[in-house]
């Protein structure tokens, strides 16, 4: 069924994810050293707003018939799209994440990719899965109300 998205629902989802994000940052010694902690704190309003916007984008895609109405598709399609854009973005330019011309052998090369994936894509996947899951919660209630 189609996603119903009152603003309060989007806001609560964004709040939960942003708090989760801050907890993740401050529990991780690599990310909270020095001024990094302050940096992440200062961008958390932007994260909040970004998640609200993301929820609305998913709703629009869902209503326009571009996203299939199932959890897997609502999660995987945006996740892979964002991941791919990030991958292309960090690998072009003068300092690619996967350094050029290092003469790595195959297993080293793949290893570097997986290290990047675990560091960046795993938190992203968890967040997007949570958002998609939470987007589903309201829908069933709405559907039940509709049928009453």
């Amino acid at each position: 069924m189609k996603i119903k998205l009152p603003f309060l629902k989007a806001f609560i989802i964004a709040l939960i994810i942003t708090i989760g994000f801050l907890i993740y940052v401050f529990m991780n010694p690599e990310l909270n050293s020095g001024y990094a902690g302050l940096f992440f704190l200062s961008i958390s309003p932007a994260v909040l707003i970004g998640i609200i916007v993301y929820c609305y984008i998913i709703k629009v895609l869902d209503h326009a018939g571009l996203l299939a109405p199932h959890f897997i598709f609502r999660f995987l399609v945006p996740f892979l799209m964002i991941s791919f854009i990030i991958w292309i973005g960090v690998n072009t330019g003068t300092e690619p994440v996967l350094e050029a011309f290092q003469q790595y052998n195959f297993s080293e090369y793949i290893n570097y990719f997986f290290n990047f994936a675990i560091e960046i894509y795993l938190p992203l996947a968890v967040s997007l899965a949570a958002i998609t899951g939470m987007l589903h919660i309201g829908n069933n209630e709405v559907a039940n109300n509709d049928s009453m």
Partner: protein, 322 residues
Amino acid sequence: MNIYQKNCLVILSLILGFVLSIAYGYSFRNFIDQPSFSAKDLEYKMITEGIKTERYSISKLFKNDYSVNLSRPYYFPQHKVIVFNGYRDKSEQSFYKIDSQGNLVDSITFSQDYSTIIFGDYILQNKAYSSWIIDGDTTKKNYIEVNAGTNWSEDKVENEFDRLKRSAEDVFYFKYESLWDYDDPRNESKIDKAVFLINGIWYALYGKNLYVDLNDLPDHTLPNLMPNDSSFDQPNSIAYVADFQKTNRVKENEWNGLAYINLLYKTDTIKIKAKLTQNEKPINNLGKYAAYNMGYFKPDGLPYAFIVQDDNYYIIKMKKQL
């Protein structure tokens, strides 16, 4: 095509995009395209392994690990010796003597005294001196103090200063700040100490505001002949990089790798391999290769020379031609 199929197509094509980009990166942007260096790898040797040919040999200068914190070599042509100044740990200062054949023949250790300096052919400290460089005498000698009690008038000090200076072969001085303890009254009165070398003995004179022109100090240190500018990239008469094998990239136009260096010593071309970084587009007069950790010292009149790499000294000795 229904929406599920369209979505599956998007998912599969994105996964394919990942796989293709990884394959592209591995095949086309991972390996460095350069000619084979296997022939050069045999011809050129790493200095750390030592090199032996019929005409010369290169080996570590100090068999044990003296090489930490060594100074540049000091060359004394009349005595045909080379002296190194080294710090093994902070409490001691050592000097090492290399004879005219390139062998480590002697060493002497002083407890740490920041006034220690090699001046002319002597080692001077503010309380004593040593003639070890000239005659191998390991005892510390005291200065003959012309005015041990510092109660001469300034005029008398000045006259004595001029008299000694006229008959001295060499003059040096220690300033009051490094001479006396902080609470010594002589520190407050700014008493300097001038020392004069007369007939192989050093005399000391104390006085206020003594001044010796130290601008033309005799300097026995050998200059580092390793070129550190763009002449290192082109053939020259001392040392240059003949070729470079890239190992991996540091950033755009900068590569880590092995440099194949031709070092010209007397009539031989010594072929050395060393790990260096190459900058393909250097700015101003900088060379392509940053060889700050390499040095080459050649004493004229002795049958050997020194190469330093990463603070380790190696000696190039000519073999006797039979």
